[in-house]
């Protein structure tokens, strides 16, 4: 697997949240981040004051990854949160 098209930057919050994840989901999430880094996938833009944020569902939809693109070819991983779903 080659290098990324975009530089991935990790925030303190993301790193902390990632470490708390169940190990079974970590690799799946990393693969999704690889896709973002390679430009194979792009998240959904948010609304209102968070327009500069994007989100993707990860780990079989159990979590939501938030990231920003402050500059061309830079992705900042901002946070990862469990989805609030009683249905799942």
């Amino acid at each position: 697997m080659n290098g990324y098209k975009h530089m991935i930057e990790l925030s303190k919050r993301f790193e902390k949240a990632f470490r708390k994840l169940d190990p079974q989901y970590r690799e799946e999430i990393l693969k999704k981040i690889d896709e973002l880094g390679m430009g194979l996938r792009r998240g959904k833009p948010l609304k209102g004051g968070y327009k500069h944020y994007r989100t993707v569902r990860v780990a079989r939809g159990k979590y939501r990854l938030f990231y920003t693109e402050p500059q061309y070819c830079i992705i900042v991983l901002e946070d990862i949160r469990p989805r609030d779903s009683a249905y799942r």
């Binding site: 697997m1 530089m7 991935i8 925030s11 981040i33 959904k44 569902r57 939501r64 249905y87 799942r88």
Partner: protein, 220 residues
């Protein structure tokens, strides 16, 4: 539109007493649902008509208040029925699982905030509606379009029609997710200090190294 937990109660459920206002609301929504079934692509126009219906608006408010007092066991039972319904559709080749999940997530999130975190939640809602009125209007349209489309799916037997409704429903549910995620960040923003960048990665291997993730399965 702090409306919440309408979706789980919109399908016939076994052994669960549907509260009065919700029952009345579902009856009141029926003509709009029938219009959506007849013309799914016109759902936004139908939502606009629904939003002008004063009685429906009152019932929405009362039904939402009623929903706040429903016991948790009832939710669990209703959600089980909802899952059964989704699986029945899946057995005939109609997959609404992801879209229903997004819609339920949105409703349940709002419900939980109204129960556990009401003043903060209302503050966020008011902020969004006052600072971004255009997007707030789109949000209301998106939410009710998804709701009416879902109700239409529960009332339709024709497979071709179901496929079309499901496709449009999925579009609105995906759009709704952007609002769910936005409200979540507004309610619990990442503190500025925690947004500080602590590492960078220019390849999958580097990413795993920075995160000290042992199960490296890449070949770079």
């Amino acid at each position: 539109m702090a409306t919440t937990v309408l979706v789980p109660y919109s399908i016939p459920s076994r052994g669960v007493a549907v509260p009065t206002a919700l029952k009345l609301l579902m009856g009141r929504l029926r003509p709009y649902v029938d219009r959506v079934i007849a013309e799914p692509e016109a759902v936004e126009k139908i939502v606009d008509d629904m939003l002008k219906d004063y009685t429906t608006q009152i019932l929405l408010v009362v039904a939402s208040l009623e929903a706040l007092h429903l016991p948790r066991e009832e939710f669990v039972r209703v959600l089980e029925d909802l899952r059964r319904f989704v699986n029945e559709l899946k057995s005939v080749g109609i997959d609404v699982e992801e879209a229903v999940d997004l819609l339920i997530e949105h409703d349940m999130w709002k419900h939980r905030q109204l129960i556990q975190n009401r003043s903060r939640y209302l503050e966020v809602y008011v902020k969004f509606f006052t600072e971004h009125p255009g997007e707030a209007q789109s949000y209301v349209r998106t939410y009710f379009a998804a709701l009416l489309l879902f109700l239409a799916i529960t009332k339709t037997k024709d497979l071709e029609k179901l496929r079309l409704l499901t496709e449009i429903f999925a579009r609105y549910a995906e759009e709704l997710e952007a609002y769910t995620a936005t409200f979540d960040l507004m309610l619990s923003p990442v503190p500025e200090e925690e947004r500080r960048v602590i590492g960078t990665a220019s390849s999958p291997r580097e990413l795993r190294r920075v995160l000290q993730h042992e199960r490296v399965q890449t070949h770079d």
